[in-house]
């Protein structure tokens, strides 16, 4: 089987949460016919491998706003898409181990609060009340925002997938994009493992592989794929409500609706996608030590499974949204680092607008692909790349 048509108005590469949401907004705006291709199965990328955390605590106003809008979208998700994503607004708790880290978190708090979100600064006692069994003295303080939370990623994917299909979007799984076909300096089609398709617009929503796709399309981009590992324990009765993130080492963990403790931390893996999405003994031991050190009671709990996925990192910590000025018709919707699920609803609306050639309200200095082409380095940086 190849494709239902020879040509499409837009082809989206990647059926992760970003690609699917983008196709959804395109279809609703009447931007059809639309084709989504993905070389794997549904949920095979980072969208099926993440921690399900959704937070609005960020270090830059632009990100806080996108996150806040996404939280509202996820609250409505059940009604809009007919799937229960178990969105639980039980907070994100950032932990500081020293005064320096706490000062940084206070700044985060000030920014977040100035956007009308009721974030709180907690001392060690306040934190001990939120993490039953935390080791004494493990944190000097932190910030907490109760309307942050967790969701179950899979039903979110199924919901948007079924919605786009019923809007007439064609989703072709098991099809790899090899790069774009360029004519007269513009996108004319997409080359795929199932042959070429004609289109004037390609959206690169290929997650950790987006840099590969851009480069295979002749565009140098600074996106870097980094492997991040994660594990889940046996299911326990509820003892922990918020997602916990530690500033020093990026340790994060939460307890899922099913009772598993799910979490990870950042290790210096070699960048690139070539070494697969697997696990390492170093992660298991480092993560176990961090977790048991912080919450000693977890020592006798068994690790059920471990896996990993790719973050799609950018130098300034902002995603890349918009048409590439070097190649008309090539639209970026990538560079989400470790936080694309929580930002997908709000950002995908803008990616769709860009694909339709319409202006967005995003600050180009922070989000446009143009920012990496400027001779001077980018000014603003979103550094809260934790959890």
């Amino acid at each position: 089987m190849t494709f239902a048509r020879d040509s499409y108005r837009t082809v989206v590469v990647g059926a992760g949460i970003v690609g699917l949401f983008t196709a959804y907004h395109l279809a609703r705006a009447g931007g059809g016919p639309i084709l989504v291709v993905d070389r794997g199965f549904l949920s095979s990328g980072a969208s099926g491998r993440n921690g399900g955390g959704v937070r609005q605590q960020w270090e830059t106003r632009g990100t806080v706003r996108l996150a806040r809008e996404s939280v509202q979208a996820y609250r409505r998700f059940g009604l809009e898409f007919g799937f229960n994503i178990w969105f639980r607004q039980s907070g994100y708790l950032f932990l500081a181990e020293n005064e320096g880290e706490l000062a940084r978190l206070r700044n985060v708090h000030a920014l977040v609060a100035s956007e009308g979100l009721p974030s709180k600064v907690l001392d060690g006692d306040g934190i001990a009340q939120l993490i039953e069994g935390i080791a004494p003295g493990a944190a000097v303080g932190g910030t907490y925002l109760e309307s942050d939370g967790l969701l179950y990623p899979f039903p979110a994917l199924w919901g948007v997938y079924e919605a786009v299909r019923s809007l007439g979007v064609e989703v072709a799984l098991g099809v790899e994009a090899h790069g774009v076909e360029v004519r007269d300096g513009k996108v004319a089609g997409l080359l795929t493992s199932k042959g070429p398709v004609a289109t004037s617009t390609v959206v690169n929503a290929a997650g950790g592989w987006s840099g590969d796709l851009s480069r295979r399309s002749g565009l140098e981009v600074p996106n870097v794929a980094t492997r991040h590992e994660i594990l889940a324990t046996e299911a326990l009765k509820p003892f922990l409500d918020p997602m916990v993130v530690r500033v020093s080492d990026g340790l994060y963990f939460s307890q899922s609706m099913r009772g598993e403790v799910i979490g990870g931390l950042t290790l210096p893996h070699r960048p690139g996608t070539s070494r697969g999405q697997g696990s390492s003994p170093a992660f298991l031991t480092t993560m176990a030590r961090a977790l048991v050190g912080l919450v000693p009671r977890l020592g006798s709990v068994g690790v059920l499974r471990a896996w990993s996925g790719f973050y799609d990192d950018t130098p300034d910590g902002f995603p890349v949204i918009g048409e590439d000025p070097r190649l008309p018709g090539f639209v970026h919707g990538n560079g989400f680092g470790g936080h694309g699920f929580m930002l997908a609803p709000a950002t995908s609306r803008r990616i769709a607008l860009a694909a339709l050639g319409q202006p967005t309200d995003l600050d180009p200095a922070q989000f446009s692909p143009r920012r990496f082409l400027a001779p001077t380095p980018v000014a603003t940086v979103e550094r809260l790349q934790l959890g």
Binding site: F41, L42, S43, S44, G48, F77, G78, L79, G82, F83, N84, I85, W86, R88, E132, G133, F154, W158, E162, R165, R227, T233, E234, A235, L236, K237, P238, F239, M257, R258, G259, L267, P268, H269, R270, G278, S279, S280, P281, A282, L284, T285, T286, A288, R289, L291, V292, G293, P296, R297, L298, G299, S300, V301, G302, V303, L304, R305, A306, W307
Partner: protein, 555 residues
């Protein structure tokens, strides 16, 4: 051991006693297979299915430590053992009403999705119902920590069954002292090797990319001691396990695999049943008959019954039902009967019994090969993936070898194969010659036809496809009807295989089921990603291990 006093402990507040070397499960199974556990969503009564430390059926709480497998735990004096996830007790669990009120299952994907005021309360309730044990206390977890065990032998052999012991002996004869890792709690010693018993190998990533290309194996010794072994070569002889089967009530107390039956009947104890129905007509069924045949009333097989089983059965007056569909287990909290139908739409029969022993299909314990990145192949005979192995036991990963039944070697060939493998290990040679042909198991290849018939039985949708997570067959059918294809995505859509046994018992059947529902061969339904660890490893055990230098990953 003479005069060793019995160990006095309490079970749900009542005094019990255990002899040395006896597991908690075998103490609790003295009269019959016990009801220790309730399923995670619907609170159906569940019994110990596997007896070898994988399933949910015997999870208990010991001295405040949750999710302890009774089949892997030997009580010590003063222990306090309680049950989990049932109120007031597993036998009379009021939450069992959930299952009765919602016989079609809870649709957690589409149900209750409105952001109503009640959501928060409702989510609290769901969280309360989910999970198995209460979290442990600090004291319990601290008491478990022990210094790690580290070894750096030339060769590590995983599994001290007949095959693993033969390889260890063959290596010893060639001047190598291997470390042998064995999961069993009391393995027999192996001359010329260092034996680590009660130790489960959980993670074998690909070897280091540089230097000597050594392997790093993570393991743990009961209850929570971390073990790390660095070796130049690894020989995996992990054998296989008895698979589950789909039918109504397939996780009710009294349904158990041959592994469990043989473990509970050994060494000189009467089995925990008196009139069992054995499922299967091949070698494994014959083994069950020879060890507990006096407590068996009937043999039921999906296909033909082999002459050796017929002979063993006729000596004891055991009834034979070849080519039969097993429809359902009768009895509410314990198996009391089994309902059969002759294949091809024949007549139905009910047999009274107090246990159903599954001995129809053995599947290789192949997780470590998946982890190490070894090339795997579909074995149609057993309906599962196993490593591609050449005649000398070499896999596609240099330095990684397989022997015994996980390599498709039949027991009569174990000793001979061990010599060949030992030679190859010593000389460090890679794959040679052609692979031995795995022993075909007639019953397993027939299972696709068997399941095809079963899927026409009215009411099969309510059967449990995944006992750990309580996924019903109807949910799998719904996923396929909604356009989801392939085991990987159906697994994620239904949550099948994401529970405590990590799909060991449901995925082999799910592959066959999907092959029928999707109308393509089982091998095309997909490759099941097997993620580490092989069995849950306590965080304390991992935390005690020194960090390996490199960040190697498994593919």
């Amino acid at each position: 051991m003479v005069g060793e006093p019995d160990r006095q402990f309490s079970f749900r507040g009542r005094p019990r006693s255990a002899r040395k070397g006896e597991t908690l499960l075998s103490v609790l199974s003295r009269d019959r297979i016990p009801l220790l556990h309730r399923s995670i969503q619907y609170h159906r009564p569940q019994g110990p299915l596997c007896g070898i430390g994988h399933c949910t059926g015997c999870l208990v709480r010991v001295n405040g430590r949750p999710n302890v497998r009774a089949c892997r735990y030997e009580p010590t004096s003063g222990d306090s053992v309680t049950t989990e996830n049932a109120w007031p007790s597993p036998s009379w669990d009021l939450l069992g009403a959930i299952g009765l009120l919602m016989p079609g299952g809870v649709d957690s994907l589409h149900g209750l999705r409105r952001p109503a005021v009640a959501t928060r309360l409702y989510q609290r309730l769901v969280r309360r119902l989910a999970g198995t044990g209460e979290p442990p206390t600090d004291a319990v977890s601290r008491a478990l920590s022990a210094p790690a065990v580290e070894r750096s032998p030339e060769v590590v052999v995983i599994g001290a069954g007949e095959a693993g012991r033969s390889v260890a002996a063959a290596l010893a004869a060639r001047g190598i002292t291997p470390v042998v890792v064995e999961r069993g709690l009391h393995p027999p010693t192996t001359d010329g090797a260092e034996l680590l018993g009660a130790t489960t190998a959980v993670f074998l990533p690909p070897p280091a990319e540089t230097g000597e290309r050594r392997f790093t194996l993570l393991a743990f010794r009961e209850p929570a001691q971390g073990v790390r072994i660095d070796a130049r070569s690894v020989v995996v002889a992990t054998g296989g396990y008895d698979a589950s089967l789909l039918f109504g009530g397939n996780d009710r107390p009294g349904v158990l695999t041959a592994d469990a039956a043989l473990a509970l009947a050994a060494p000189s104890r009467p089995p925990p049943f008196h009139e069992a129905v054995v499922v299967g007509g091949g070698r494994r069924a014959a083994e069950v008959l020879s060890s507990c045949g006096d407590a068996v009333t009937a043999v039921v097989a999906p296909g033909e019954i082999r002459p050796e089983v017929v002979r063993a059965a006729s000596d004891r007056g055991i009834l034979l039902y070849p080519r039969s569909l097993l429809l359902r287990a009768g009895g509410r909290k314990h198996v009391r009967s089994v309902r059969l139908r002759a294949r091809g739409g024949g007549s139905e029969t009910t047999i009274a019994c107090d246990a159903i022993v599954l001995a129809h299909r053995r599947v290789p314990h192949a997780q470590l090969f998946f982890q190490s990145g070894a090339a795997m192949e579909w074995r149609p005979g057993v309906g599962a993936y196993a490593p591609t192995v050449s005649a000398n036991g070499a896999t596609s990963v240099p330095g990684l070898f397989a022997s015994g039944s996980v390599a498709g070697i039949s027991p009569s060939e174990f000793a001979h194969h061990a010599e060949t493998v030992a030679d190859a290990v010593v000389r460090g040679v890679g794959p040679t010659g052609s692979a031995p042909s795995p022993t075909p198991d007639v019953a397993a290849t027939e299972l696709v036809g068997y399941y095809r018939e079963l899927l026409r039985v009215p009411g099969h949708g309510r059967w449990v496809a995944c006992p750990c997570v309580d996924v019903l067959v109807a949910e799998v059918e719904r996923a396929v009807r909604s356009g989801y294809r392939g085991i990987e995505v159906v697994k994620r859509y239904t949550s099948l295989g994401s529970g405590i046994c990590q799909g060991r018992y449901c995925l082999p059947d799910a592959l066959l089921l999907l092959s029928i529902l999707e109308d393509r061969p089982p091998a095309e339904v997909g490759y099941i990603t097997q993620r580490p660890p092989v069995v849950p490893i306590p965080l304390a055990a991992l935390a005690s291990l020194p960090n390996p230098p490199a960040l190697e990953v498994h593919p």
